[in-house]
Structure formats: C-alpha cells, structure tokens
Amino acid sequence: MALRRRTAGAFALWTLCVALIPLGASADISRFDLGARIYTKHLYANNDSQGTLWLGNPFWPDQIAGSNGVSSQLEITLTGRVSDAVSAGARIASRYGERWQDYWESGNRMYGEEVNTSGDSVGMNRAAYLKLRGPWIQLDPGLRAIDWVRIGASDLGMFNPWTIGKLRYIDRDNGKGYFVAGSIGEDRDVQWVAAAIALPKLWVGPWWSTGLGDPELTNPFWSRDWAYAASLRWAIREGTQLRLVASITQDLEVDSADPDAVGSTNPGCQDALGHPIPGCSSDHAVDLYMRYVATNATAELQQDLGDTVRAEAMVAVSDQRIDSSLTANGVALNQGVSPIVYKDTRDIAVRVRVTASDPFENGLTLKGEYFNIGAEYNAIFGARREADVLLTDGFLGGGQLPTLNLANEFIDFGETWVESCIGWHGGTGLLTWDNEGGDLRLEAEYTFLTFNTNRQNRNVDTVFPDFLHSDGYTDTMLYDYANVGDRGRDPRSVYRRNQWRRSQIAVFRGRKQLELGRGLNIDWKFKYIHDEDYRSTTTTGDDYLGRILQSRLQIGVPVAPGVNLAIGGTVDRWFEQNRRGTLELGYGDDTTERETGFVTASYQYGGLRAAWMLEYVHKLQRREREGDQRWSVWRSKATFEVAW
C-alpha cells in the first residue's frame, strides 16, 4: 500500500514535470542561440608539399603548411542570456589541418615521431579536435556610468592599430581579459573602455614571446603578464571628435636570485664559501622584475568641415624598455630576426589626413595625407594584419602597419600582404572619380616617400633587426620564409646597415561596367614604383635603383543569379640595378619577368558560399651574378562555407 502511494505520488510529480517542461523550454530557447559553421578548403598545386595552407609559420618545422589537400573545420557558437543583466557565449572550433585523407588520425603519436601506418602518427595538428575558444560573460551592472563589463574573450577591436590592434581573423576571439565600458552624458558624448588583457605568451615581446624560449631565462614565467589599455572617445560637438588611446604592455620575470624562486641561484642564501649573502633571506614569496615594458598612446582629432570635407590629425608615441639581463638579444642571436629593437627606445608618429568627398558634386573625391613615423616607433601589440594605417597602396598593395610584429603567415596565395611602415615619411594624394551613370570609376594615387630610417653604419648586428633579407623588391606571390627563391626584402625589414632611400609610387586603377548580358565588369590596375637607395654614401658601387612595373586586368561576368565568373591576368616587370649583394662581392643588375593568368568563380545559393580560383604563375628571374631562375606554378584553391 505504501509502495502504491509512493508510485502514485511519483506519477503525479512526473505529470507535473511533463506539464512544466514545455514552459521552461520555451523560456530557455528564447534566451539561447546556437550557431554553427562548416568551412572546407581545397588546395592543390603542382608541387609535392602536403597540407592545406600555402604559407605556414616561419619558425618551427610545422606540419600545417602545404599545398595539396582538402581540410574541413567545424565551428559552434553558443550565446545566451542568463538574465536581463547578464549574457554569455563561447565558440568551440575544431583544429584546422586534418586533411580528408587523414581521417584515422586521433592525435596520438604512436611509435615515436616517424610517419607510419598506424594511422596515429602525425599528431594533434591533424586530429581536428574541438577546442574551447572565445568564452565570455557580459554584465550590464545597472550603473549610470558603466554600460557593460565583459569577462573573457574579445577581438580587442576597441583600441587601434597603433596601440593594441584588433586580432587577426584566425585568432579572432582568442584574446581574453577584463573589459569595462561606460559613457558620460545623456547622448553618451564621452564613451570609454578600460581593459586588462592577458598577454598571449607568444608574439608580444622580445624573442616573440613573453619569456618562453628566451635563452636568457631558465624558468620563463608568463602567467602574470598583462597589458593594460584605455580608450576614450569624446564627441565634442557634431562633426568634432577626439579619441585618446593608451596601452601598457608588461612582461614580468622571476628574480632568479630570490631564494624562493624555482631554480634559484641562491637557494640557501650562502655564497660559494658558505658565508651568508647580505640581504638574502627566504620569505616564501618570489620577487619579479620587468623583462619588457612597452607603452603606446595616440591622440586623434577628427573635424568635419562642412558636409563633404573631413580633416583628421593623429599623434602617436611609442616607448620601450627592456632589461637585457632578462631577455636575450634576438638581433644578435637570431640572425637579425626580432620584433623589437634591442635597446630602450622612444619615438613618435604623426598622421594628417584630409578627405573631400565629392565636394563639387561631380563625382570627384580627393584625399591627401601627410605621415611621419619615427624610426623607432613600434606597436608591439598593434595590429598584425587585416588593417591599414596609411592611404597609399604601398609597395605590396596591401596594408601598412607601424609594427615589426607583422603576421604574413598562415595565409594562402591570393591574400593581401601587410608591410611595416616604421620610419616612413612622406605624403599621398588620391583622386577618385565616379561618373554620373555609375558605370565608371577611375582612381589615381601618387605617393612620395623618404625614410626616417635612413642612416649610415647602423648597428644591425646587435641592435636593429634587419630580418636578414633587406634587398630587392618583395615577391609576395612566390614567397618563402627561408628565402631559398630570392624573393626579395622581408616586409618587416625596415633597417639596413647603410641606407639613403627615397621612393615614389604611382597607381592608376579603374572599373568599367558594360551593359552586356547580365553586365560585365572590367577592372584594371597599373602601378609604377621608383625606388632609389644610395645605400652606403661612400661609394656609388652599391646604389640601388628599382623600377617596378605592375599591371593587372580582370573581366568579371555574373553569368546567373548567385554565380560569378572572372578571368584575368597580370604582367609585371622589375628592373633592379644592384638588387642584392655586398660591397666586397659586388652587386648584380637583375630583371624579373612575371606573368599570371587566373580564373575565378563564385557561387552562392541557399546559404552555401563557394569560391574557386585557378592560377598559373610564370616567373623568370634573370640574375647577373647568379644563375637565372624560373617558376612555372599551377595552383588552385576552392572554399565551401555554410553557417546556420
């Protein structure tokens, strides 16, 4: 009887629960978003490298790069509202790099390091495991002065490329920290953000790390390394805005003389003779010293002059302090490949830009810019790519960034490159004209450049990083980090032992739409770079003159709704006197001929986005002092992407 009563009670409880579940579930669903994305990339080329990433990392021998294979990635995004005041989210993404042919791989390296037939031999880079990325909690504390508090992941996009830059897309929300944002005034005229950001253990600091791998450190300590930053945006009045941004990046290391430190040089506080060391005593606390600290700040004023003209002026300052007893000299020990100048530095940068957007109502837009970036300005935590601080097309046609910490890595062919603009001093004029019918756009740019880095007998052995390869026009189409193919200057190489350089860049590009079929777009670009560098001023024997001619034509046709086809090509010629060499061995006059042809297609339907590119690159490098080189490269890339 008792059992029956319990059964009846349980049944009633179960019925009540069933009745309530839909209500509860409904409430939860309205507060919960689940998103997913699948990205598949197909990469093939006429070489024997295996992988699905054209250009990997320059340092360690990675398994990631390679030009033959297909890989997929799954990404799951969870966001939800915990309450009216709190929301939270996270992203879970599979590790990219497992080729379709690798589907046995579990990430377990069996039988040592050799590749073998176990199916468990190539490691975690091929295992496509899911990893937590981007967890965050956001709070609206209900205070007048504070809009929100975020704990966890961010793309760091609230600052700027001169201080702390937005993370590159492949890292997007991997940055983590504490963020507080607020505003002042009824119309939120003043908006501010303050943050403490956990320093990534790689990249931000000497030796491309916050201690890890530095030969000067026996016990690198990176868990207490943080950056602190603040941004203030003040809308002074309609059309006038002031923006201030400041950041401090600091790397702390253990005092190895502290008797409480792991691996202390004074564990017993006694010298070699057994005598007590004055001032040395254990207190079970470890002292820390600053290995590296960098400060960057910008002040930027934007002023609208009427409806069509805007003037912007920005001043930036950069300061760096290093403790040479806690950081090894990456310039001397790493062949000049270092993201910092190996000494204390301080420098400024100035940029003034005026934009007149169609002021005469005839389709003509004018932009002018003056820039002067100090020779030792460096934004160590600045934007590494996917950003651009100058108007000019530059030498490489991508963005210019004021850092030695560029990241032209983990990219495929066809992507744009960034170059360091540290030391650039000059101006750009840019004219754009759109015709009334909207079917023609013409754009012309002229840039004159000289360099604050011009100097004789610069110490590139122990102080200024020259990135080992600082000569010749850079070929980003056929780049290799080890420079086995004579691909020219490293885009980070802003310092030379002897430099007296000035350059001019002229670009003319346009687009014409023709009324043929569903429409036909013709895009063209012509570019000329006149690059002079007297190098050593004591002789004319090393004077460099580069005359770089580039041309590109593309014809695109939308063949059906959602389907685009394009065909095009480039013809480039580089005439370089004294391209590379030494005074002792002499220099050579080299000529580069490069032609490409390509076909692209894109297809979008029902949420699927697909793109395909097939490219042929022919390059002939005629070299005076060395043998000629020839490239004949076929390569293709296809991507398929859905998100739901």
Partner: protein, 280 residues
C-alpha cells in the same frame, strides 16, 4: 581696356548664342525628377528604445538617417542616403567583394501607384515585426548594401523568391563621406515622378544573418557586441533603426511620429512603415 561698340556687339552675340545653347541644357536639367526628404537628428532608436551594439565599430550616428535625395539622370536614378557619421569600412569590404563600406544597409521602399492591393505590405525578410499599410504597399525596393551583387541576388532569390521581381539592385553602390550613393537603372526601377511614395529603412549589414533574414542585424532585448538592444527577443519588434516619418521635412515633430508609427505590442500591434509621398 574699354570695349568698343563693335567688340561689345560681338560679346553680346556670343552671350546670346551661349544662352541659346544653355537654355535647352538648363531646361533638360530642370526637367529631371528630383526630391529630397529630411529626417531629424538623433532618432536612430527605432520606436524610441533601441541601442547600438556595444562593439566600437558602430560609431554614434552611423544609422541616424539625415536625408535622402532621389534624382533622375539620363538612363539612371541616383539615390543619396546621408547619415550622421562618416561611413567607415571596418570589415574591409574589398575582401568580400563589397562596396567600400561595412556597417550600413539601407532599404528604400517605393510605392509607384498608391493603389490598395497593389504591391507588398510585408517588407523584405529581416525587419522583424513591421508592415506597410495596404494603401501604401510597396512596388519596388532598392537595396543599398555593402554586399556585392552576387550575394544580394542569392539572398533575395532564396529568402524572398516572391519579391525578387520587385527588388532593384543598383548598378553601382558607393560611400562618400557620410553619404551612401546608389545608381539604379531606369529600366529596372521606372522613371520616378511626383506621387511616388518612399520609405528609407536604416538597418545594419550582417554578413552572417539569421536563416530567414536578408543580411540584416537583429534587435534583441539586450544589446550585444553585434546586436542592437532595446527590442524584444520574441521578434515581434520592428528591426529598423531609423525611418522617414511624418512629412519627411526633418522637423522635431517627426521624432514623435517615428515613435508612434514604430510602436508595437507583441501579439496585437505591428509597427507600421509609412510612405512619404513626393510632391504632395
């Protein structure tokens, strides 16, 4: 130098000749349709409660509609939509075949006949709970988006197949200062004239929209990094940030008019998108 009678005569004849040449040109220019609507500053809050996403790329005024100008050219019609902030391209639209800006998405709904039962009362998918009156149903909509034509065509074709014939994609879209400029073909739109009704809906471009939405950014109850706040998670709220209201002259009373027309009550009242008629 003092003009001699003979030189004065020559000058007069030249001026007269020039005048004869210019008159037809001026007459031609004057004959083209042109209309400008204004919208008050600071009403980029939908029905009065909406807040911008918290990410700093959504600069204040970016969705604050200030004016729209429609002018007829030879074979084209140009739309100029001006907002309260410089138009920026924080997401590098060139990388995704875009048009040089990233944030804004303006939809210009046009009623060409002012006939009840002619056209659509529902807007394109993605504007939440909002509708036009039956007598102000729209016949054409011009999309001023940073997305390239291929993406727009695909989105419309898949998510609004019944409306695709009414969607006009510009032959060119660009940004100049605070103004979005779109040029559409007359053959796609027709020749604008007095009596046509217009409504400009300011939204934000969302590259990863909901499966039913055409590239619009949602309005939630609470603002997120890339979500507007101040609305309703149940999607009964209008996902529009700013519109033309009242008579489209930019008067302060149009703020109240916008609040009133976009007011909604979940389950009973849907926000109304009004048309503003040219030449009335």
């Amino acid at each position: 130098m003092i003009a001699s009678p003979s030189s004065f005569g020559r000058t007069s004849r030249a001026v007269a000749l020039l005048g004869l040449l210019l008159v037809p040109l001026l007459a031609f220019a004057a004959s083209g349709f042109k209309v400008e609507f204004k919208d008050p500053k600071g009403d980029d809050f939908g029905p009065g409660t909406y807040k911008y996403p918290t990410d700093p790329v959504y600069a204040r005024g970016s969705f604050d509609l200030r004016s729209v100008e429609i002018r007829e050219n030879d074979d084209t019609v140009e739309f100029r939509v001006t907002v309260g902030a410089q138009i920026a391209d924080p997401w590098n639209s060139k990388d995704w075949d875009g048009n040089g800006f990233s944030l804004q998405f303006a939809q210009i709904y046009i009623d060409t006949d002012h006939q009840k039962g002619s056209g659509f009362t529902e807007p394109l998918p993605g504007l939440g709970g909002a509708a036009f009156k039956a007598e102000e149903a729209w016949d054409k909509v011009v999309l001023i988006s940073p997305q390239g034509r291929t993406r727009l065509e695909a989105e419309v074709r898949f998510k609004a197949p019944k409306m695709k014939g009414a969607v006009v994609l510009p032959k060119k879209t660009t940004a100049r200062g605070k103004t979005l400029v779109a040029v559409v073909k007359k053959s796609d739109l027709g020749t604008p004239k007095a009596g046509w009704g217009f409504q400009v809906v300011m939204q934000s471009n969302e590259g990863y929209p909901d499966k039913k939405d055409i590239l619009t950014r949602r309005v939630n109850e609470v603002a997120g990094q890339h979500r507007f706040g101040g609305g309703n998670d149940a999607e009964c709220d209008p996902h529009v940030i700013d519109i033309l209201a009242g008579t489209g002259k930019g008067g302060a009373d149009e703020v109240a008019a916008q609040k009133a027309t976009l007011a909604y009550t979940c389950g009973s009242k849907v926000a109304t998108l009004p048309m503003v008629y040219a030449g009335r």
